[in-house]
């Protein structure tokens, strides 16, 4: 972005000084070129977003148009302990998974940034969990978490660490930990590979200079790597938080919200109420309730970016 701004200052867009007719035609050309994307996004993104908010204020069901009922859906949700449980689960899931993804992803990025044999091979292979469809890898986890024939339980029993198979998805705490682990497994490669791209833009001479000044490895990481990487970290983690918060697929495959709703997220609850339950209005209200959290995450990241520009002595 900064690069683009500089480019503009040096090279003002051509045709700037021409008459109003050109400006007019530019507006027209711009509009015509934007038209296909504009139509698509207005019809299938902006309109449904508004429709979703409206549905949240109605009692629409599958096969029956609803009428305006004001805040009734939200009042029901406010008194619904299952809804609050899903909010708690979603926050727990998002925070735990994001912290783990960040820590492990950064660690993996730092390892891959070392001088390694077959580096590009490792980079390509380690991204696989992120490339493969989530539902299909979640099915593999489903089998790995099987209550009787789990390969993890088998391995731990063989090693003599436990006596009976672990009930991965049948117990509340275990189920939460298991779905978080599966989410982290899928998210690590994304964080690692994007952060690796950032690490590679940090000039090694900075580290060399710091070492000559007597900085330890930790100090170099804390005062060179981390500040240089922080803008990228902010963006990557915003994406990661947004996608974790609105996750649906993994939970739907592994637990469908169970056991005892311990893993019900807001997205899965919204789906359950709206599609199998038929209560489109209530489902839409749950989906709308996710928006404030998402906005908070985006704003948080936006101000994180601002701070970094100020740190680097940028204009704004």
């Amino acid at each position: 972005m900064a690069q683009a701004a500089v480019q503009e200052k040096i090279l003002p867009p051509p045709q700037e000084a021409k008459g109003p007719s050109v400006l007019q035609s530019r507006g027209m050309a711009g509009f015509l070129f934007m038209l296909p994307a504009l139509i698509f996004l207005l019809v299938f993104l902006t309109y449904p977003l508004g429709l979703g908010v409206w549905l949240g204020f109605t009692d629409t069901r599958i096969g029956r148009d609803g009428v305006w009922i004001g805040l009734e859906n939200y009042q029901l949700l406010w008194e619904d302990s299952l809804f609050w449980l899903s909010v708690f689960n979603t926050l727990l899931y998002t925070i735990a998974a994001s912290i783990l993804k960040f820590a492990l992803g950064l660690w993996l990025a730092l390892i891959l940034n070392e001088h390694l044999p077959f580096k590009s091979f490792f980079r390509a292979v380690l991204l696989l969990p992120w490339v493969v469809p989530t539902v299909l890898s979640a099915i593999a986890f489903w089998w790995i978490y099987d209550s009787q024939f789990s390969v993890i339980s088998w391995g731990l029993i063989e090693l003599g660490i436990i006596d009976t198979p672990i009930n991965f998805l049948g117990d509340m705490e275990n189920a939460r930990a298991s779905v978080i682990a599966a989410n982290v497994w899928r998210g690590i490669p994304f964080v690692a590979i994007t952060l690796l791209a950032g690490l590679q833009t940090i000039s090694p001479s900075l580290h060399e200079a710091a070492t000559l000044d007597g900085a330890t490895g930790w100090q170099r990481f804390r005062y060179i790597t981390l500040p240089m990487l922080s803008p990228l970290i902010a963006v990557v983690m915003t994406f990661s938080v947004l996608f974790t918060f609105t996750d649906f697929q993994l939970i739907y495959v592994l637990t469908r919200g169970g056991p005892l709703n311990a893993t019900h997220l807001m997205a899965t609850l919204s789906f359950q109420r709206a599609i199998p339950g038929g209560q489109l209005g209530e489902g839409a209200a749950i989906a709308v309730a996710m928006i404030p959290f998402l906005l908070a995450a985006i704003l948080f990241s936006y101000f994180g970016l601002q701070r970094r520009k100020w740190q680097q002595g940028g204009a704004d």
């Binding site: 549905l55 660690w107 991204l127």
Partner: protein, 301 residues
């Protein structure tokens, strides 16, 4: 400073192989700090795929009997699960559906995204900056919020339970992504080329098709591959908008049709997951660099 003069000369400051000071580390230290964690990461990240493959090739009686057969290798590998999948279920149809939907929505999104990115980045109409920001924000709108109103809409439009519903709704997340990515590529093409063409009397359309697009081919490939993968992996829309078995996509079909009651056909499930992942993995393996470029490019802008 003998160390520095001995170092391999680098062409650019940001060379891919940033050696840094790793040559100062002793070997045992590197084993503990680098190779051991790397081995653990590789094992954990790849084990599910190995397990998927092994399970898909095991006959049923070996699958649950870890005492008499080694769990990590099929003693008598069989193709019966894959055979079952391909000839006794609707799986080939789901593959075909997924392919159609992914290709259709990718082409549609690329077309709209190329035009939009060119308009925002180069025509610079009034408000193009805000449009660019709006496109980015549109990418952040998650499908989990949109699936209920979209289900209502597809029903009203009469395209519920058809592949068209998916082809038309997938661009909601593909167009913002592709536009954002292509804006970055267009930005890197010098204005001078365009000025020359304008002086020679080329129209906007000619500039786009004859000058910009040939130069932005890597960007188009990146955006196309990524869009294809995203559509292939999509789940919540496909689950909500499709009812009949013959219109299902692979992720939905495998999950809803191969699991019947309490009888889990683990072999068939694993074979289905494996075969369903294969097309994107193949595509990915041919274009790793484009894929990584689009992933990191979208985040870095």
């Amino acid at each position: 400073m003998g160390v520095v003069t001995n170092a391999v000369p680098r062409n650019t400051a940001t060379a891919d192989e940033s050696v840094g000071m790793s040559y100062l580390d002793r070997l045992p230290r590197r084993v503990v700090i680098v190779y051991l964690p790397l081995a653990v990461f590789t094992f954990v990240l790849l084990f599910p795929f190995y397990w998927m493959t092994v399970t898909a090739l095991k006959p049923n009686h070996e699958m649950t009997d870890f005492n008499n057969y080694s769990p990590f290798w099929p003693s008598s590998p069989t193709l019966q699960h894959i055979y079952y999948l391909l000839f006794e279920t609707s799986y080939p149809g789901w593959l075909w559906n997924t392919m159609l939907v992914a290709i259709g929505s990718t082409i549609l999104s690329l077309f709209a995204a190329v035009l939009a990115a060119y308009a925002i980045e180069r025509i610079r109409f009034a408000g193009s900056r805000w449009t660019g920001l709006a496109i980015f924000l549109a990418y952040l709108v998650p499908p989990s919020i949109l699936f209920i109103p979209l289900a209502v809409m597809t029903f009203k439009f009469g395209i519920y339970d058809s592949k068209l519903a998916l082809i038309l709704t997938y661009p909601t997340f593909l167009i913002p992504f592709c536009t954002w990515l292509l804006m970055g590529y267009f930005r890197s093409i010098p204005y001078e080329l365009e000025e020359c063409a304008l002086v020679d009397g080329a129209s906007r359309w000619q500039i786009l098709t004859k000058i910009m697009l040939p130069l932005a081919v890597p960007g188009l490939i990146s955006a196309g591959i990524f869009a294809f993968t995203l559509s292939w992996n999509e789940f919540i829309y496909a689950l909500t908008f499709i009812q009949s078995s013959e219109n299902k996509t692979v992720p939905v079909g495998v999950l809803t049709e191969l699991v019947r009651g309490d009888v889990y056909e683990w072999g068939a499930l694993m074979a289905g997951a494996l075969l369903g992942s294969l097309p994107v993995v193949l595509l990915y393996s041919f274009f790793v660099d484009y894929y990584v470029a689009s992933m990191t490019g979208a985040v870095k802008e």
